[in-house]
């Protein structure tokens, strides 16, 4: 009985946990297919694919992706190399200095990203000045600074991944290679590197992902190379559209795809290794497709996902939500009109009351289209953010404030104003 309760509570906990973890991603993905100009899943209006189109026409996003890839490649190269060197050094250094050394190379993980960004910026700026170079020198180049700044801590992650594998490496292997006539470089390339390859691949992927999503450090160093994350942050802070959801959806899809492919590949390798152990030596390339799928749930999911994607893309090219959007617009217009009417009536009443109290003053107030002091914090809405929403609610300028999703926009704009208010 007690056991049963425990079991149920474990599953409830797991359910809640994964809802917390995955729910936001699912909902965000869903908003990419909803027609309102502000990303939201409820109420559901019309299924649309237009945000994907909008995404691919956004020059800044595309440019950001390109910069991110450049930075990512540089960071992967530098941090995997440094991480590997750091890990090798860790296994060779004497016990006395090891703890100091370990603290130094692990510290960047714990140093806040903003601090790393600042110190990188300050340090290389100083070097630049010491060398008497101008503001357009290589050392003050955003690409260089971002790669350097990110690598500082990403190399630590790589080091951790690599050292885990390196601990299982038998240094005698290198000695054996040397003994058989290999040079140190040959032993490194032919023995150590192949052994480390899986870990190097993991470290590389990890480094790329960490670089791709980095914001805290990059925001100080990017210069004239805004990465995707920087562009996204700009967009999210100063007005969001479901095009971002569309981008998120694509990234989620790619991630799930990559994860499943990796999983399926691991399963496949395991199976080949097993088959070899049993004595049969199947040709690795000879594994047929059905064989690839058999007993490999990840592979099955992968194929299903691929089919699903193709179907959706196929539908998307044929599907047009125009009619639906028009319908919703009409409904909204009617609703809005009704609300305006109500409001007008209310205001009429207010005005009558105010008039009774104050006379002329209320007249001027009414003539402003957006009465910014209407609600207590009206003036904190950045105008740019509002305009995003205006498209769908164009006919209802005033209610948009009252409807309240105003302050989901750009809290940052709010903060700055608010601070000045509070001082």
């Amino acid at each position: 009985m007690n056991n049963k309760i425990l079991r149920i509570s474990i599953w409830v906990y797991l359910g809640l946990f994964f809802a917390y973890l995955l729910g936001p991603l699912v909902i965000m993905s869903a908003t990419a297919f909803n027609s309102p100009g502000f990303p939201r899943a409820t109420p559901w209006e019309c299924l649309t694919f237009e945000w994907f189109g909008a995404l691919f026409q956004d020059e800044r996003i595309l440019n950001g992706i390109w910069n991110s890839v450049l930075v990512g490649l540089g960071t992967v190269t530098l941090s995997v190399a440094m991480g590997l060197a750091g890990a090798l050094m860790l296994t060779q250094i004497s016990a006395k200095v090891r703890s100091v050394y370990y603290t130094i190379i692990i510290a960047p993980i714990l140093i806040p990203g903003v601090v790393l960004g600042i110190s990188t910026l300050v340090f290389w700026d100083r070097i630049n000045r010491m060398l008497g170079l101008g503001a357009d020198s290589f050392l003050s180049n955003g690409l260089f600074l971002t790669i350097i700044g990110q690598s500082t801590f990403i190399a630590s992650y790589c080091m951790l991944v690599l050292v885990a594998r390196l601990q299982r490496y038998d240094m005698v292997q290198t000695e054996a290679a040397l003994d058989l006539g290999a040079s140190h470089a040959q032993a490194f390339r032919k023995i150590l590197l192949p052994f480390m390859r899986p870990a190097i691949a993991s470290a590389g992927v990890l480094a790329f992902l960490a670089s791709f999503e980095n914001y805290n450090t990059t925001t100080f160093t990017f210069g004239e190379y805004p990465t995707l994350t920087i562009e996204l942050a700009q967009k999210v802070r100063y007005g969001i559209t479901p095009a971002i959801s569309a981008l998120a959806f694509i990234i989620v899809l790619l991630t799930v795809f990559g994860a499943l492919a990796n999983e399926a590949n691991i399963k496949r390798k395991e199976r080949i290794a097993e088959a070899r152990k049993e004595g049969a030596l199947p040709d690795v390339k000879g594994i047929s497709l059905p064989g690839f799928l058999r007993g490999n749930p990840a592979a099955v999911l992968l194929v299903l996902l691929a089919i699903g994607t193709i179907t959706v893309v196929g539908t998307a090219t044929a599907y047009s939500p125009a009619q639906c959007i028009a319908d919703v617009k009409e409904t909204k217009r009617l609703e809005a009109e009704q609300r305006i009417q109500e409001l007008r009536a209310k205001r009429e009443a207010d005005r009558a009351k105010q008039k009774a109290e104050q006379g002329e003053e209320a007249e001027t107030q009414q003539s402003t289209p957006k009465p910014s002091n209407n609600s207590g914090f009206g003036n904190v809405f950045a105008p740019t953010t509002l305009s995003d929403d205006e498209e769908e609610g164009a006919e209802a300028p005033e209610p948009s404030n009252n409807s309240g999703f105003g302050n989901v926009f750009d809290p940052d704009a709010l903060q700055e104003d608010d601070q000045s208010n509070s001082e």
């Binding site: 939201r40 060197a85 910026l121 992902l209 805290n216 990234i251 940052d412």
Partner: protein, 306 residues
């Protein structure tokens, strides 16, 4: 030292050894130690236009640190109440986020570490996937949920819990949820690693001796998992305190995060030394706090990252 170098080059060869040593030195000295020292040095200097840097006015000063405590000179206030409050609040909130994450993640780490079967791999995958998705987008996703017309409010109003939208963002709930969300994996991973290596027989033995489940955890699992727990907590605390994206996107209008002040000093006020001073204060305070807590719980720095 020369003995070490000789041995090092003997073992690795001149070429490979030189490249290795070069990379390690570049990383540790050029990327880690010198930039931090440089920032520290910079934080003691006045904010000067570029031509005057290195000139007669470029002298060491405590001005930037004074500013954090006392505010602008002649500012009419005894203390820089606004910035100090932000600083204090950031640390408290980061600590709360850490505790929240620990409570949330301990059960799942234990579950993953001590269960077997195919579903564990799938759970692990489900854990990792969100972390392959951009930090900004994760915060963005939460904003969609916690917005005033977001999913959560729609559900809560629809089910009659509230009769009008609750402002999750103004109340910082979105921010805490976002920070917690951002670092779940960093909490789970070290704990999972340690718990996984715990011999299941120890738990069986304790159960056999009649210990109730909470006592098994309190006396067997948690002491064993202490390095993992401290490692996870340290990372989550440091990263939450140093977070910038989540507070910028999910922060309420009246609550700044300390990193945002640093950001403002750099990008809006263009006062780099001031920003550097704030960064130094943040870094030093966080490290001091972490070390103090680690001493309190008797764990070593060497356990971090394992």
């Amino acid at each position: 030292m020369t003995g070490f170098l000789k041995e090092f080059f003997n073992r690795n060869g001149i070429g490979v050894g030189a490249i290795m040593l070069g990379l390690v030195l570049f990383w540790t000295i050029g990327l880690i130690v010198l930039p931090q020292l440089s920032m520290l040095d910079f934080s003691f200097r006045p904010n000067l236009p570029p031509p005057e840097i290195g000139g007669p006015k470029d002298v060491y000063t405590l001005e930037n640190y004074k500013y954090l405590v006392f505010g602008p000179e002649g500012g009419g206030q005894d203390y820089n109440a606004v910035d100090l409050r932000v600083f204090y609040r950031t640390l408290i909130a980061a600590a709360l986020v850490t505790i929240f994450n620990l409570i949330l993640c301990y059960p799942i780490s234990y579950y993953l570490g001590q269960s077997e079967g195919n579903h564990i791999r799938i759970f692990a995958l489900m854990l990792i996937i969100p972390y392959w998705i951009n930090e900004i987008l994760r915060a963005f996703a939460l904003r969609i949920i916690f917005g005033e017309t977001g999913v959560l409010n729609t559900v809560l109003i629809g089910s009659g819990v509230f009769d009008q939208p609750f402002d999750f963002i103004r109340n910082d709930i979105a921010l805490y949820a976002g920070l917690g969300y951002a670092y779940i994996l960093l909490m789970i991973f070290p704990m999972y690693n340690v718990i996984e290596s715990l011999d299941r027989n120890q738990i069986e033995a304790a159960r056999d001796l009649g210990a109730p489940w909470w006592r098994i955890h309190w006396r067997v699992v948690i002491p064993y998992a202490k390095p993992g727990i401290s490692s996870g907590c340290t990372m989550v605390f440091m990263l939450s305190a140093g977070a910038l994206a989540a507070p910028q996107i999910l922060g309420g209008p009246s609550s700044l995060w300390f990193t945002q002040l640093i950001y403002q000093q750099f990008n809006d006020n263009n006062d780099w030394p001031q920003g550097a001073a704030y960064a130094v204060v943040l870094l030093v305070t966080c490290i001091a706090l972490v070390l103090a807590v680690m001493r309190l719980f008797k764990v070593n720095m060497g356990d971090i990252g394992k």
